[in-house]
Amino acid sequence: MNALSAPPGPARSHRGTELVLLLFAAALAATGYAAVGIGQNGTVPSGTLGYGLGLGALYVLAHLAVRRCAPYADPLVLPCVALLNGLGIVLVRRLDLASADRARQAGRAVPRADAPLQLIWTTIGVALFVAVLVVVRDHTRLARYAYTCAAAGLLLLLLPAVPGVGATINGARLWIRLGPITVQPSEIAKILLMIFFASFLVSKRDVLSLASRRVVGIDLPRARDLGPVLVAWVASIAVLVREKDLGSSLLFFGIFVVMLYIATERTSWLLIGLGLFAGSSFAAYHLFGHVQARVDTWVDPFRYTSGQGYQLVQGLFGMGTGGIFGTGLGEGSPNTVPFAKTDFILAAIGEELGLVGVMAVLVLFALIVERGLRAALTCRDSFGKLLGGGLSFALALQVFVIVGGVTGLIPLTGVTLPWLSYGGSSVVSNYVLIALLLRISDAARRPAPSPVSPSAARASLQDARTTVVRRG
């Protein structure tokens, strides 16, 4: 593990390892796809080979982009993502078959299958992944577009509220309609706003941590230093609260507080953040019926088995039924849980792949997050450090919010489980997130930071190990 990560060191990129792991991920996904068919109909589905090859081709494409544009990037991150993504498509396919079965039995029309669509979204995601790596050759240049990102991010957040564009699905107005498909813009807005936060905080870093007033033992920065970032943050949270997107507001809040903490190195920000969180949670509980319902359901889901707790309870039943080893793909009934394809995909994993499957998925996410944080740690510039730390933490927090919600650890708020949940915006934006992380990782692990240009740096690779590493 250490040999894979720590610069400065021998300039080994481990791209070959990455390729092998990626092909393994594609093979595993194809096996899962076949297992679903066997479990449901007793035969290997005809699409298995095409599916495995298609996914493999996509992964190889992503790999080639990394090899070409970010040759020193962490070789473990992309295979983890590929594995999660492949498993996600397998599960969506499995749930497709279940709902088709159910529709046939009830004599209704068979609903649209989501797995092929998810494969298309994956293709778009990989395309954007490649595009980001190709276009953004140096992540520090993103800092220049900080305010553009902020504006675009807020605009995207506001879009769903615009009549005619926005769409309300399941009580939350988070979607915009683009022809036949709906997109959840808050996912991509999250990344844009994080770029803004990182750039802004880095530029104001010194003022934020030095010019402060001491209020009851806590250092508070001056309002004008923090102004723009506070505005962006309050605006985004206000929009999300208005759109009843509890999960995303929680995410934005947590990401913002942690990025502020990383930038200023002041624990006081965490305390202030926690205080604000406690205060606003308390207020929200008493002000909003839907927040109260969520908390009450969390405290005792079995009191609301047939009502507001139905989904949570059915998810718990599913995971409990799966036990340690699960029922096997296609052998359980994960479709008993409403929204099994999106928010509750973990319950489906728990039921059919068991605790073993859930732990594997969690470990994959943990690996990606820790690898991302390691890239941030070893990155030489502050912007990269902050953005890398923010992106990694955002991923960790999102996994925590949805998995914690589904397993009953914390009140349930609907966010997607990255790469596993069905949903185009989620898959695409998380591929963008990973592209940025790999870009930062590449910069962090690049043996010779070039004083001139990136192309010159590649030319002088042979001399790399003699160079003194400048750390940011």
């Binding site: 039995q105 903490y261 995971m319 039924t321 009934s333 944080l373 941030a376 730390g389 397993t407 650890l409």
Partner: protein, 488 residues
């Protein structure tokens, strides 16, 4: 910025650690609770995923399912149906996705559902070969003709019939009315099940109750057989003259015991024990009860099975009771099956069967055979002695003769079958002031080498109201059931 980043890394690990712990909590610690929670639809889907075994009667080409599952096209793959309908409902019970199950459906659920260990080897091989796992079948002892005769006889009445093979204890008929169609409770539509169940609960006569085994009634004069048995065991003979006053003064009370319709028994002073039974003389048996004492009568009743709460058909059977701590007046009333004496129709059938079987009561049973899905036998019937010599063979013979004369020339003439010697005893049990008495008949046939013993109860005397006697209302039903078994 490295120090906060490291701390964030540690915080992320803590978050993932919490998730891993919670996943273990849900999928290991709580897994069993969640897996078996009745609200977990998966339990239901699993249950309805395999074909539930049938409940059948008859053998060979007479084999007939009275409950079976049929394949459907909805989410629950099998639907339970009851071709036996209301005739067999008290025996089969129902299997409902809302209200659990009753009757044989409940008692033999392990076999029917396929979860019984005796099916284990087969289940494993089914699992490996990928064959549809099915439940075993339960073959009952019921005689189709007898069951139908019992149900027909009870039509329009509230009551119960139990017929036993006295030689084995096999239950030949077990009917209870009013009945219901279990199919409405086994549908796949919870809303309609709830509606129908509520309707059944609201109906007069409690159709969901199996009166043959679940309710107890005062046995009335049918209990005189037990009092007579106690007397014969205590040295009386059928020709022993016993006092039979027109009015029996109940000691310690101002009340008197009198005969049905105020009739005079014989000469109004005394008559033989056999005659007293034949015409069902209350005053004679009341006096006899006092003369014998409660202990002797209770001992005789318990020898037939009173007070046994362990009896299973396999459905649980309510205790029949002969009361404790009786005054002399209560002894007299108890001796004629009144006061607090309570019996199930099954218990009275067992009394008749014991006398028919030379004094030995065989354990009643409903399940003749347990079969695997391929109809191979997993388990045969357990024919067991329930009470060896509840009465001696000699007493049994004397009682048989006495009961024959009841049917031949006494209160039970309506039970006569031409060409067959029938033994029996009628009963008319008062149970509440101003309400018609319950009509009873117990008996067996043929008197020599009996093959069927029967008990019939009609609540509130059926349509004949307060003028009913067991001889008029219950005896004809018993006759039809016995004829059905005898094939005449």
């Amino acid at each position: 910025m490295n120090r906060p980043l490291r701390r964030v890394a540690v915080a992320c690990l803590v978050l993932f650690g919490m998730l891993l712990l919670q996943a273990n909590w849900v999928q290991v610690v709580k897994a069993k609770d969640y897996r078996n929670d009745p609200r977990n639809r998966r339990v239901l889907l699993r249950t309805y995923d395999r074909e539930r075994g049938p409940i059948v009667i008859g053998t060979g080409k007479d084999r007939q399912a009275i409950a079976r599952s049929v394949a459907t096209t909805d989410t629950l793959k099998y639907l339970r149906t009851y071709p036996g309908g209301a005739v067999y409902a008290p025996v089969t019970g129902f299997d409902s996705l809302v209200y659990s199950s009753t009757g044989i459906e409940r008692q033999e659920n392990a076999i029917l559902s396929g979860s019984d260990d005796r099916l284990l080897v087969r289940r494993l091989s089914d699992y490996i070969t990928g064959r549809q796992v099915a439940g075993g079948s339960i073959v009952l002892t019921l005689n189709r003709a007898a069951q139908q005769a019992a149900y027909n006889g009870l039509q329009g009445k509230v009551g119960a019939v139990v017929a036993l093979d006295p030689r084995t204890g096999a239950v030949l008929a077990e009917a209870s009315t009013p009945s219901y169609d279990p199919t409405v409770l086994s549908s796949h539509d919870p809303a309609s099940i709830r509606v129908d169940y509520t309707k059944l609960l609201a109906l007069a006569g409690d159709p969901l109750v199996n009166r043959a085994v679940e309710r107890t009634y005062p046995p009335g004069s049918t209990f005189k057989v037990i009092t007579a048995a106690a007397a014969l065991a205590g040295g009386y003979t059928p020709s022993t003259q016993i006092p039979s006053p027109t009015l029996l003064d109940l000691p310690g009370t101002t009340a008197n015991l009198r005969n049905f319709g105020g009739e005079v028994c014989g000469n109004g002073k005394s008559q033989s024990l056999a005659d007293a039974l034949r015409i069902s003389c209350n005053t004679a048996f009341g006096a006899l009860g006092i003369a014998l004492g409660a202990d002797k009568v209770r001992k005789q009743a318990e020898a037939f099975g009173f007070g046994d709460s362990t009896l299973l058909l396999p459905q649980p059977v309510a205790d029949s009771v002969y009361p404790d701590q009786l005054t002399k007046a209560q002894e007299a009333q108890s001796a004629i099956g009144q006061y607090d004496v309570r019996v199930t129709p099954l218990q009275m059938a067992m009394v008749a069967a014991g006398i028919a079987n030379n004094g030995t009561v065989m354990r009643p049973y409903l399940v003749r055979e347990v079969q695997a899905p391929d109809l191979s036998q997993l388990h045969g019937a357990d024919q067991k002695v329930y009470a060896e010599h509840a009465v001696s063979a000699g007493v049994a013979a004397q009682l048989t003769t006495m009961m024959e004369s009841v049917v031949q020339s006494g209160t039970g003439t309506a039970a006569r079958i031409s060409g067959v010697r029938v033994a029996g005893k009628t009963g008319t049990a008062q149970h509440a002031v101003g309400q018609a008495p319950h009509a009873w008949f117990i008996g067996f046939a043929p008197a020599v080498n009996p093959v069927v013993a029967v008990a019939v109860l009609v609540e509130d005397g059926g349509s004949l109201g307060s003028d009913a006697t067991g001889g008029k209302v219950a005896a004809p039903i018993a006759r039809d059931v016995m004829r059905a078994v005898l094939g005449r």
